[in-house]
């Protein structure tokens, strides 16, 4: 019996090569579907708004010191840009395959589901990096207009921001593989990142008075904190009554190792669980 008779002449590419194929076409889809440009426009709007406000009102917080400038400009808004990117590119990455039935086109092919997941993740990461790049360029452009140098802490902050992006995308992909409805996964991810995480963080810190080390947004504080000098203390307890005594308020600030660990662990856990969920999820 001749085996070759019916076997395919095509050699199915390695899983790694297939990851690249998925990344390429997902990026093409982002560009074509205008998803990328909408996100770019939002980033541009935030940038223009900041540029105009700082240029016109010349707020002291921005303009008294180099570090203060980067802390006020970058430290307060970059996490927002990252979260938006995560929602835009990751919010329905997996759920959309089920809801829109595009999975029926791609999945029944000689390709592992993990290659599809990872390929889409990398595409979302690249697209978000481009967005983050634009925001970084605008930040630096303004910074160099007002001050001559760039503080070394900005480099650190940028690296932390990248790690945060990785963690946020890990989380949004995980969340989007929990659901079969795109709008549901997008909405819940947005609510979680924009309100719930911060709310829990404040409740835990303020009422329960323990350090909210298990909240991703708490870890992301290091992006802004590294730009303040001196670095804020891990735990501060202040009295609420002038002159001391009475009820106290404890505030927590993630230390750099803590922040890195929180973001890193969030990524690893959500990536693994998200992959397993997608592997096991049924198209029905």
């Amino acid at each position: 019996m001749t085996q070759t008779n019916f076997e395919s002449k095509n050699v199915v590419p390695s899983s790694i090569a297939q990851v690249g194929i998925i990344t390429k076409y997902t990026l093409l889809d982002y560009v074509r579907s205008r998803r990328f440009f909408i996100m770019l426009t939002i980033t541009a709007l935030i940038s223009v708004l900041l540029t105009v406000l700082v240029g016109y009102y010349r707020p002291a917080g921005f303009l008294t010191s180099e570090l203060g400038f980067y802390s006020s400009w970058w430290g307060t808004s970059v996490t927002f840009v990252i979260i938006l990117s995560g929602i835009f590119f990751g919010g329905d990455a997996i759920s959309g395959e089920f809801q829109n039935k595009t999975g029926y086109f791609g999945v029944p092919n000689p390709i592992r589901r993990s290659s599809i997941y990872i390929g889409k993740w990398i595409a979302a990461f690249i697209a978000s990096i481009a967005i983050l790049g634009v925001f970084t360029a605008v930040t630096l452009g303004n910074g160099l207009y007002y001050f001559s140098g760039v503080p070394s802490q900005f480099g650190e902050s940028l690296l932390f921001a990248l790690l945060y992006l990785v963690a946020v995308l890990g989380f949004t992909f995980f969340f989007s593989s929990l659901f079969k409805s795109s709008s549901m996964s997008i909405l819940l991810t947005a609510i979680l990142f924009l309100f719930v995480f911060t709310l829990i963080q404040q409740l835990v810190a303020g009422l329960v008075q323990i350090e909210p080390w298990f909240i991703l947004t708490y870890g992301s504080q290091i992006i802004g904190n590294v730009l303040t000098s001196p670095y804020p203390p891990n735990i501060t307890t202040a009295s609420l009554r002038p002159g001391g005594g009475g009820p106290t308020l404890t505030t927590y600030n993630a230390t750099i190792p803590e922040g890195l660990a929180i973001m890193g662990i969030y990524f690893v856990i959500t990536a693994v669980v998200g992959l397993i969920l997608f592997e096991r999820k049924e198209f029905n």
Binding site: N10, I21, D29, V107, I111
Partner: protein
């Protein structure tokens, strides 16, 4: 030889059994029709052959390879169309199909031509560089069929491939499927269009309530349930007397039964081949009852289908 095999293949949704212990081995170059009423479990079975869902028990094998545990290997040379897939709406057929071609490892040098060829085969050349988002249902279906044929697969799994196509599209797809048989391919397709199945399939597998009822060659299946007789349908231009049908025609040599199926339509079953069929036509015409058409009944498979399905309800 290409093959697909279900070994005790079972799918349960909670307490509900969508497919129950399907054992079926199909091997060789042929087209097998997969029949059964709505909800019988056809799509469920096909989804397990493409790893869209996991079996609760048992396994699905393609060319001897387990689809769930070794998906990449099992589907290496398979073309599939399950339910109605959607394509990323911002991509064009050329881009979407090139993506599939890359995933399946069609060499770089052949990709462009293969994509253009299958698109032409499905008569979508004009649309190859337009975005899929604005396509009609049938146009998308054509692209999905094109994607199933893209890598010249040895095994083709199709779930109601002609739904949504216009009449010409249906007949074109049938011709494509017939042509595949000539190329050493195994085609397994579900369908509700029995005339289509009689036309293109060599064998049929029928399921109901998640259980296999019969799997045999088309002639065997029809012969087994029509008692080995042939059936012709006669169309008349005016109503005919009952007597003539039940007495005269039923009394002709070799005629097993004759009945009116409408005011001006008769159904006659007879034993014997083409000679008997010709003599019978002569005899009926001589009766001067206004014969305007005379053709072998196309509903043979339908009869079998209805008999089998009601028997298992």
């Amino acid at each position: 030889m290409p093959s697909i095999e279900a070994v005790n293949l079972t799918k349960q949704y909670g307490a509900f059994t969508a497919l129950s212990g399907l054992n079926l081995k199909i091997e060789g170059t042929k087209c097998v029709g997969f029949l059964g009423p709505n909800g019988a479990g056809k799509t469920t079975a096909l989804k397990m052959f493409t790893d869209l869902i996991r079996p609760t028990k048992g396994e699905a094998l393609i060319n001897g390879v387990n689809v769930h545990t070794e998906k990449k290997k099992a589907l290496a040379s398979v073309g599939t169309l399950i339910e109605t897939p959607e394509i990323y709406s911002s991509l064009t057929p050329r881009e979407a199909l090139t993506m599939i071609a890359e995933i399946r490892g069609i060499p770089h040098t052949e990709r462009k031509k293969r994509v253009e060829d299958v698109v032409a085969e499905l008569r979508m050349e004009e649309w190859i560089d337009k975005r899929v988002g604005k396509f009609s249902k049938g146009m998308k279906q054509r692209i999905c069929i094109a994607s199933a044929l893209l890598n010249d697969p040895t095994v083709v799994l199709l779930d109601e491939p002609t739904t949504g196509l216009d009449p010409r599209g249906m007949s074109e797809v049938r011709d494509i499927i017939k042509a595949l048989k000539g190329k050493n391919r195994l085609i397994f397709m579900s369908s509700h269009i029995l005339s289509e199945v009689s036309d293109v399939c060599d064998e049929v597998a029928m399921i109901n309530h998640g259980k296999l009822i019969i799997y045999d060659t088309l002639p065997h299946v029809t012969a087994k349930f029509s008692g080995g007789n042939n059936v012709v349908e006669v169309g008349l231009m005016r109503p005919v007397d009952n007597q003539i049908v039940t007495k005269t025609i039923a009394g002709f040599p070799d005629v097993v039964a004759a009945e009116k199926i409408g005011d001006k339509d008769l159904k006659i079953s007879f034993s014997g081949g083409l000679e008997v069929q010709e003599r019978l036509l002569n005899d009926i015409v001589k009766l001067n009852i206004g014969v305007v058409s005379y053709k072998p009944a196309s509903s043979e498979l339908e009869d079998v289908y209805l008999k089998l399905i009601t028997a298992t309800l």
